[in-house]
Each structure stands twice: as structure tokens, then as C-alpha cells.
């Protein structure tokens, strides 16, 4: 299956669906749009859009065409895909990122297909969301504001009151991640220590994991000399960091169902445990990867009639 453009994307499996968030700058040019009125001027706007496509029972084939499941559009500034956290039934929590403003956090969807806006604050100094996850009953998301970090929980149905949990030292964008059960962060002042704790537990009781170098992003990647190492940190005791991949640059990383996968140039490397192994080799650069247990998906660059397209492929971990 092909999709338009080589836009930044993140992929995730959610039940019998494959999802991806796509971030793009939309260049609107009246000269290229038939029927445009005189006086129209070129301008840009920005979008972060989640697409969903059905999969067959064994997740080997697509069962339809992608549909837009959520579309966030703004004239403020460009967005990055940010976080796409599956809820397991085709639904998701999406939290795009931007350096210039605070994009919304959106949960999708209830039985009628209606989304819930978890957070959307238009003030210039609004807190910035740096991670979001689905706990099974609520959306938990981390925000940074004025050097402070807070962990908030919201019920999409609005039945339970929103809560704010105390957290440890403030992380920075890219140094905090949430899972269904816990939160992991790196204090920029102590970049070689990863802190882990279950949501709702005492922040003082966070587990510390020594890293072999300063952390860059959660999965966890660390800089080791001139190289980047990707570490697997399982929450089960004893908590320790195991190196699973080493490369020259921070790769695109996906986690899901206990597996980890990276897009490494033209290759997709993934594993359920231990070092990552080559799962697929594409013809061109792989731009995005998703994993869920043994299911793997990736998008590699392609062209069709001279236009850039992304080729979405499905595979399995052996």
C-alpha cells in the first residue's frame, strides 16, 4: 500500500488496525488548485493527522484503504508526529509535538466514533505535552511548564476527575516516556541515570538504572563516545539496561507487545528479546517502523510517476 509523501510518521498497531501519525506542512498555492478565485495568495498551514487501516486476522494484509481518524490543523507552526499510543481496539491517544506551541492531546474514540480532546490549551505559555499513554481506562500524559514536570491523568468519558500526580525532577522533551504501567525519565542534570516508577507510586520510590552514557531518548538510547547505543530496559526485576543495537545516529524506534524495533537505514531490525536482528530489508530508506509482539510494519520511501510516496509494508518477527 502506498501513501503520499515522505512526511515524518510514527506507526503503531492497535488491535486489528495499523495506525500512523503523519506531520506535514501543507503548501496552499492557488495557481495549482483549479477554480481558485482571483486574489488568492500562497500560504502554508500545518497538520498532524492519524490514519487507520484494517488488517486481516493474521496481520499479513490490509483489508481496506486508510481513513483519516483524527486531523489536527493549525496556522501556528509545524508539528512533529510526537506520541501515538494504541488503546488496543483500533483506538489511540495522539500527542503531536512542536517547538513553537503546545499541540493538543486527543483520544479516539468511543463506540460512536467520537473523539475526546484530553488537553488543548491555546495560551502562549501553555504547558507542553511531552509524552502520553493509555492506561487501559484513562489517558496519562506528562507536561512541562516553567521547568516543572507534571503527570496528569484524564478519563476520556469525563466521568472521573482529572488528576495531577507529583513526579520527580523535570525531564526535557525527549527525555521522558510513558508506558501503560509506568513512567521513565532522565533528569538533564544527571543524564546517565534512568528513573523508572509505576504510575501513582511515590516519586521517591523510583528505581534508578545506571546507563553507560548520557541518555538521548527513551527506548533508551544513549550516546557512547561517537556512537549511539539502544538499550532495552525491562521493568521486571532486576531492572537493568541491556544493549540491543549500536549505530551512528539515533534511530527511529518502536515499542509494543514486549518487542522493540528500529528503522536502520534500509533495514528493519527487531526482536522480542536480546539483540535486534534484521527482520526486513527495504529497497530504500525506511522512514517509520511499528511493532507489536511479532507483528512489524514499516514505511519505506518510494516514488510513483516522479512523486514521492511511502510504501507501507507488513512483516513478522521470527
Amino acid at each position: 500500500m502506498t501513501v503520499e509523501g515522505w512526511h515524518p510518521r510514527v506507526l503503531a498497531f492497535s488491535g486489528g488496525s495499523l495506525l500512523w501519525t503523519e506531520a506535514a506542512t501543507v503548501r496552499v498555492d492557488p495557481a495549482r488548485i483549479a477554480g481558485s478565485p482571483a486574489g488568492g495568495q500562497r500560504f502554508d498551514y500545518y497538520r498532524a493527522e492519524v490514519f487507520r487501516v484494517g488488517l486481516d486476522r493474521v496481520s499479513r494484509r490490509f483489508t481496506g484503504s486508510p481513513e483519516s481518524a483524527a486531523a489536527i490543523r493549525t496556522s501556528i507552526a509545524a508539528m512533529a508526529p510526537g506520541t501515538l499510543s494504541p488503546t488496543g481496539d483500533g483506538g489511540f491517544v495522539v500527542a503531536p509535538e512542536s517547538r513553537r506551541f503546545a499541540p493538543p492531546v486527543v483520544w479516539c474514540c468511543d463506540a460512536d466514533g467520537v473523539e475526546a480532546v484530553i488537553e488543548s490549551d491555546g495560551r502562549a505559555d501553555a504547558p507542553v505535552t511531552v509524552g502520553a499513554a493509555w492506561t487501559g481506562t484513562a489517558v496519562r500524559f506528562a507536561q512541562l511548564s516553567g521547568g516543572l514536570q507534571s503527570l496528569r491523568t484524564a478519563d476520556p468519558a469525563g466521568l472521573a476527575p482529572a488528576t495531577i500526580e507529583p513526579t520527580g525532577p523535570a525531564a526535557a522533551p525527549g527525555l521522558l516516556a510513558l508506558s501503560r504501567e509506568g513512567v521513565a525519565w532522565v533528569d538533564p542534570a544527571d543524564p546517565a541515570t534512568l528513573r523508572l516508577r509505576g504510575a501513582g507510586s511515590d516519586p521517591a520510590g523510583a528505581t534508578s538504572v545506571a546507563l553507560p552514557g548520557p541518555a538521548l531518548i527513551f527506548a533508551v538510547a544513549v550516546r557512547v563516545g561517537a556512537r549511539v547505543a539502544l538499550l532495552r530496559v525491562d521493568e521486571a526485576a532486576p531492572v537493568r539496561a541491556v544493549r540491543v543495537w549500536t549505530g551512528a545516529r539515533v534511530p527511529r524506534v518502536a515499542l509494543g507487545g514486549g518487542s522493540i524495533a528500529v528503522a536502520d537505514g534500509r533495514r528493519v531490525r527487531a526482536s522480542l528479546s536480546g539483540p535486534l536482528r534484521v527482520t526486513a530489508s527495504g529497497r530504500r530508506i525506511v522512514d517509520a517502523v511499528g511493532v507489536d509482539g511479532r507483528r512489524v510494519a514499516w514505511i519505506e520511501r518510494g516514488t510513483r510517476r516522479g512523486a514521492r510516496v511511502g510504501v507501507v509494508r507488513l512483516g513478522r518477527l521470527r
Binding site: 478565485p37 489536527i72 491555546g122 502562549a124
Partner: protein, 374 residues
């Protein structure tokens, strides 16, 4: 970068308070007026008046005024009608020197086959209700509190009848293609309403259209007929039916700045609508009775801008409208944010966005001409 920022600031200052020739009347709607009563309503009216506006728009929710079928629907004194909240609003606005434009929608259970709120009403029923509004606010109807109720001279027929959220069905599937259904029925309502309003108050101005922001009409019509009809298509198809009007209204929520945007409908496409309106009433005024920009994402409006952009685009909106001499009124929607609508001048907590001061400056610079006094 610094030079660019400075230029933007100078441009914003240059646009501010620009009393352009041919500039439209700058108006503001507070959709929460109809949800509050008593002292709370008076406080909201005071807040609205504090912006300096001299014209506003108020939604008359037909279903609330007439929950049961009146024996004589033309008679506003029929006991089936409850006008109490609207009497207080119209009275309060007039006392504050603010002219009211009334629109009506939300179909009562008894006025359609399906009984749904969004069901297309039987045109005769809708027309009689329009007549009752015009008669009650004709300037000669007794006020239950003494004296007479103020006159309202401008009545919009419905709200966004081209959108399924306000009017169904919009279309029917026939011969493998979608056939618009709403324009013809709406034109019948407009004809009936015009006749009844003018019979009640010959000085009243009847405003048709009130089209909502929709670009294209659907190629296939869903089974429930709930697919928006493009605003330009709707205008053309209503014009084909030839109902009488005194003015035409449309709603613009452009994607992009007011001066740049060109998707239908936006300020750059108003001329296309005017060509269709001229088939009905050559030279009829154009009222843009809703426009604005949201400052955060909500599921009903997925496009948003920053608060600073919203403030700058208040000014640009007036400039864009001023370039179209036929545009007589521009109404910013809405006064205050709520969970469904984040395009207010005030945030949900009541604090002012930067757009508040820009809007107040524009309202002061663009007062209504003589003849618009309440």
C-alpha cells in the same frame, strides 16, 4: 528574524482602528445569552456592551419558545409560546443601545415529520413562527412588564440550513448520485417567512441564506441525508427557486488568514456568492453573521490559530470585509470560549485574549450608520 517581527508589529498597528471607507458594521454574538436568565443575563449583557459593539445577533430556539403547537401560530400571545427569555434579552440589548439581529432554528417536535431537532420544518409552520417573532418585536407589541417591546428590524431565516447539524435531510441518493434536497425546502421556508414577516412588520428586513462553512457537496449521499451541501451550491440552488429576500447572510471560517485564504467559503470567494444573490435581489446587502478563528483544537473545529494570530486576524477580517462594498455587517462568533467553541474573545475562565482589545478597537472604529439604532 527581528526585522520580520518588527514588520508584523507595524502592520498590526497600521491595521488597528482603521476606519476604512465602506468598512462594515462590526458586530459580536454571545451564544450563551440564551442559556442564562435574570441577574446572570444582565451581567452578560453588560459584558457584551463593554466591548463597545452596537449590533449583535441572537439565536431564537424555536423548540424552546414553542414546545407545543400553538393554536394560532401567528399570534405571539398564544399561550403555547414562552418568550420570556427573549423579551429580557431584546429589552436588555435595546436599553444598552445595541441593535439586535434575530435568527431562528431548532425545529419543534410538532413541526416536522420526524420530530428531530434538526429536521427540516414544514415551511408553513416555520413561516408562521417567523411572523410571530416579527409581530412580537414590531415595536408595537405590549411588553408584559409595561409599555411595548423593542422593535427588531432584521430577522435571519434559520441558521446554516446547508449543514446537517441544523437541517436534515441535506440530500437524497437518486440514480447513483447525490441530489441536494435542502435548497428547495429552504427556499419554500424563506418564501413563507418573508410573507409572514412583512405582513407583521413592513419595515423588517428578511435575511436569507445564513449558509454555514462547507466547500463541496457530496458525490454520494449517506442514507440519513447528513452530508453538508457546499455553501456556494446551496446559494445557487436557492437562487434557482427565486424566493424573496432583502439581504443574504453567510458564515465564514477561513482556513488561513482572512486576506490569504481562498477555499470556499472565504473572503476571497464572497464575490461568487454575490453573483448568485444578485439573481434574487440585485444589489442586496451581504451580512457575514458569523466569522472567527479558534485558538485551540476541539473536535468540532479541527483548525486553530494562536491567540496572537487571532488578534491580528480580527483586524484583517475587517480589512477583508471592507474590500467588498456589499458586505454590510460582520459578526464575530463568539464572545466567550466553551468546550465546543474556542473562537471567543474571552477564554472559558473569563480572562481576555489579546483579540479582545483588537475587537473593541474595531467596534469603536466601525459603528453602525443611522438607521441601525435599536
Amino acid at each position: 528574524m527581528r526585522v520580520r517581527a518588527l514588520l508584523v508589529a507595524v502592520l498590526a498597528l497600521g491595521l488597528a482602528g482603521m476606519p476604512a471607507t465602506g468598512a462594515p458594521i462590526v458586530s459580536l454574538q454571545d451564544d450563551n445569552l440564551v442559556n442564562v436568565r435574570g441577574a446572570e443575563l444582565e451581567a452578560r449583557l453588560d459584558a457584551l456592551a463593554a466591548t463597545g459593539i452596537r449590533v449583535t445577533r441572537v439565536d431564537v430556539l424555536w423548540r424552546e419558545v414553542a414546545p407545543t403547537r400553538p393554536a394560532d401560530a401567528r399570534d405571539p400571545a398564544d399561550p403555547a409560546y414562552d418568550w420570556s427569555r427573549y423579551d429580557q434579552i431584546v429589552r436588555g440589548l435595546a436599553a444598552r443601545g445595541i441593535t439586535t439581529i434575530l435568527d431562528f432554528y431548532v425545529t419543534p417536535v410538532w413541526a416536522s415529520r420526524s420530530g428531530e431537532r434538526t429536521a427540516a420544518p414544514r415551511p408553513a409552520d416555520g413561516g408562521r413562527f417567523a411572523g410571530a417573532i416579527a409581530r412580537r418585536y414590531s415595536g408595537a407589541f405590549p411588553d408584559p412588564l409595561g409599555g411595548v417591546l423593542p422593535e427588531v428590524r432584521r430577522i435571519e431565516v434559520w441558521n446554516e440550513p446547508n449543514l446537517p447539524g441544523f437541517w436534515r435531510p441535506q440530500c437524497r441518493q437518486r440514480g447513483g448520485r447525490s441530489v441536494p434536497a435542502s435548497p428547495r425546502v429552504y427556499a419554500a421556508l424563506l418564501t413563507a417567512a418573508y410573507r409572514e414577516i412583512r405582513a407583521a412588520n413592513p419595515d423588517a428586513q428578511v435575511i436569507g441564506g445564513v449558509t454555514g462553512p462547507a466547500g463541496r457537496s457530496p458525490a454520494r449521499c449517506p442514507a440519513d441525508g447528513a452530508a453538508a451541501t457546499g455553501s456556494l451550491d446551496f446559494t445557487r440552488l436557492v437562487a434557482d427557486e427565486g424566493p424573496p429576500i432583502d439581504a443574504w447572510s453567510l458564515h465564514l471560517y477561513p482556513l488561513g488568514s482572512p486576506l490569504q485564504a481562498f477555499f470556499t467559503p472565504s473572503w476571497n470567494t464572497v464575490a461568487q456568492a454575490i453573483r448568485q444573490v444578485d439573481r434574487l435581489a440585485p444589489g442586496a446587502p451581504i451580512h457575514v453573521t458569523e466569522t472567527g478563528y479558534h485558538t485551540s483544537y476541539n473536535r468540532f473545529h479541527r483548525y486553530f490559530v494562536s491567540e496572537a494570530q487571532q488578534a491580528a486576524w480580527v483586524d484583517e477580517t475587517v480589512v477583508a470585509a471592507g474590500r467588498i462594498p456589499r458586505v454590510q455587517v460582520v459578526t464575530w462568533f463568539n464572545f466567550q470560549d466553551n468546550p465546543r467553541w474556542t473562537g471567543g474573545l474571552l477564554r472559558g475562565d473569563g480572562s481576555r485574549k489579546p483579540s479582545y482589545d483588537r475587537f473593541a478597537a474595531q467596534a469603536a472604529a466601525n459603528p453602525p450608520p443611522p438607521g441601525w439604532a435599536p
